[in-house]
Subunit: 349 residues, 2 copies
């Protein structure tokens, strides 16, 4: 028998402590504090309980509750890191929506260690009720194996994987379509798309949208595939695009950081943007307004990605069926200064 802790005691107060002070049973305290419909208590008792709880600063222990309910009220979020603004944005959206729905987030970046271990660790130890995988680095095969074990609680974000039924993606192809249309409207007829590795699902979809729209509009499309998708990849991609003969009059970058790198790459190569070359980014970012020249971009609603993913996984946890969600907000073109009409003398095929 431990004596009920006072305000000054350091041990975390338990239901029993509150019950002792209020002079009732702990089960009643539990019901009252949770507003359990079956927890009718006389207004007076109720009041005593609530006051006692406040007095000692009672907070339910999450582990005990989780053990009892077989629910942790926590979701896992697996990211490759915070390298790209897209991941930051996803994290933000996930966290916000999870919060709204009463869930916490445990974070796993697999900067260090085996990605598969990180993933299975979270889910298999029952640390989380569901898992959002927003990492391109985990192999499809690994992911499928994981989902085979716990299909009801894994959602892949910004990616689709054969065999994994629950996913949320953006309208990547449409973003590329929009980009092509903008450039064609400006008079461009030779466009080069510079993308990241085809091992990334988003890149494949953007690239496809790019290729198809170019074909449909009858303009000359070329494509460069880089191993990375960061500034450096863009910088080098610019050079690769310039090597094409005849050179394109406009380039589309597969990611925002790539577009930034391409701006630098064009400058290094002595090619004026947008005078001699238009540069257009897939994905927008606050930084775009502060670059030279200000970067035109097709914005995608990345924060919605996180929110939708949370809704989907919570639905799965509640027994819902896996779905493939496409965020309904369409991509939006934001024209700034890096795209302009095709230079005179180059406007025919």
């Amino acid at each position: 028998m431990t004596d009920p802790p006072t305000r000054t005691s350091r041990r975390r107060p338990t239901l029993a402590d509150v019950a002792a002070i209020a002079g009732v049973d702990s089960s009643l305290v539990s019901r009252v504090l949770r507003d359990d419909p079956r927890g009718f208590a006389s207004a007076e008792t109720r009041d005593r309980i609530v006051r006692a709880a406040q007095e000692v600063g009672y907070r339910a222990n999450a582990a005990a509750r989780g053990l009892r309910n077989a629910r942790t009220m926590t979701l896992g979020l697996l990211l490759p890191g915070f390298s790209s603004p897209v991941y930051s944005s996803i994290a933000h959206g996930v966290e916000e929506r999870a919060n709204e729905r009463g869930y916490g987030i445990v974070l796993g970046t697999h900067a260090a260690g085996d990605p598969h271990e990180t993933v299975s660790g979270m889910l298999m130890h029952g640390r989380v009720d569901g898992l959002l995988v927003a990492s391109g680095r985990i192999e499809d095969r690994e992911l499928r194996r994981l989902v085979d074990r716990v299909p009801q609680s894994v959602v892949v974000v910004n990616r689709q994987v054969r065999g994994v039924a629950a996913s949320v993606v953006l309208q990547d192809a449409d973003a590329a379509v929009l980009a092509v249309r903008h450039l064609v409207q400006l008079g461009h007829r030779r466009i080069c798309g510079v993308f990241g590795p085809s091992t990334l699902d988003t890149m494949v979809r953007r690239r496809r949208g790019f290729g198809e729209e170019c074909r449909r509009l009858g303009v000359e499309a070329s494509t460069v595939e880089m191993a990375g998708r960061d500034h450096r990849a863009g910088f080098e991609g610019a050079r690769r695009a310039l090597d094409r003969t005849p050179a394109p009059t406009a380039v589309i970058a597969g990611t925002f950081p790539m577009a930034v790198g391409m701006l630098a790459g064009m400058h290094t190569a002595g090619v004026a943007v947008p005078g001699e070359m238009s540069v257009l980014s897939l994905h927008n970012d606050a930084l775009a307004d502060y670059l030279l020249p200000r970067l035109s971009a097709v914005g995608l609603p990345t924060e919605r990605l996180g929110a939708e993913a949370v809704d989907l996984v919570l639905d799965l946890i509640d027994g819902g069926r896996p779905r493939r969600v496409v965020v309904p907000e369409p991509p939006r073109l934001v024209v700034r200064d890096s795209t302009s009409a095709v230079p005179a003398g180059q406007d025919r095929l």
Copy 2:
């Protein structure tokens, strides 16, 4: 009595399940699987247990373990968001080090909701064993109140708060000192520091280092204080710096995004960098190499910040005494293209 689940069963296997298959008691399974020194088992039994565990894919339930041990093996990380690269970097450092030491991270950004609730929620519900607060937005007073309740497990990161004994910071003042010296060496004698709000501890320290070194070296210092510390704040700060009479020949930006904004601001104002104005950033970033001009910067070891914070909080959890840690790695100057010798005709006071 439930029958031992086979591979196909969906219920998460427990110790009891493994024990049943191996034909031993669950406590023995527990000891063997944890390599408990008191868990000697005959090689043969051991083998049977391990195989049984593997067969059903046993993973210890974190909630049960946490309840029993009064340890969750989880740390809380409170960030204001991923707006700034510094926060991403801290998150990365924290996650990596925590991983190494066997801890998970639960993330709280207080984009949404009451920051104080987020914080107390994590700690008070026993969801985490310790808390890293890397947010400038939580008021000092709030933070002190929190720490009064649970002094042994809160560490503030990249910030010091009176009344909160455990903190980890960088050598912010020294970074500013290094910046000033670089510019003075280039011949600059009128330098303007453009900082974020003085409500942020880091800004105060950088500003102090700036002011003191300028005084020591006998150069003319002016200071601009902006309400924000993002691109926009830098953009507007550039104009404010140019309004000084006589105008400075060099500016130091309080954060990396501010420096980016200042580059744009100078360009908009028609001031050539570095021809007419040198721009130097406090904090470095991969982006620096891809700006026009490439941005000179003083790098600070932000990732170490996260690692040190994890080490400190784990030390506190183990009963260690609170300390004020300063990350030992000194700031490093990276000279690129945005700083140069003072323009001719302006090199005297």
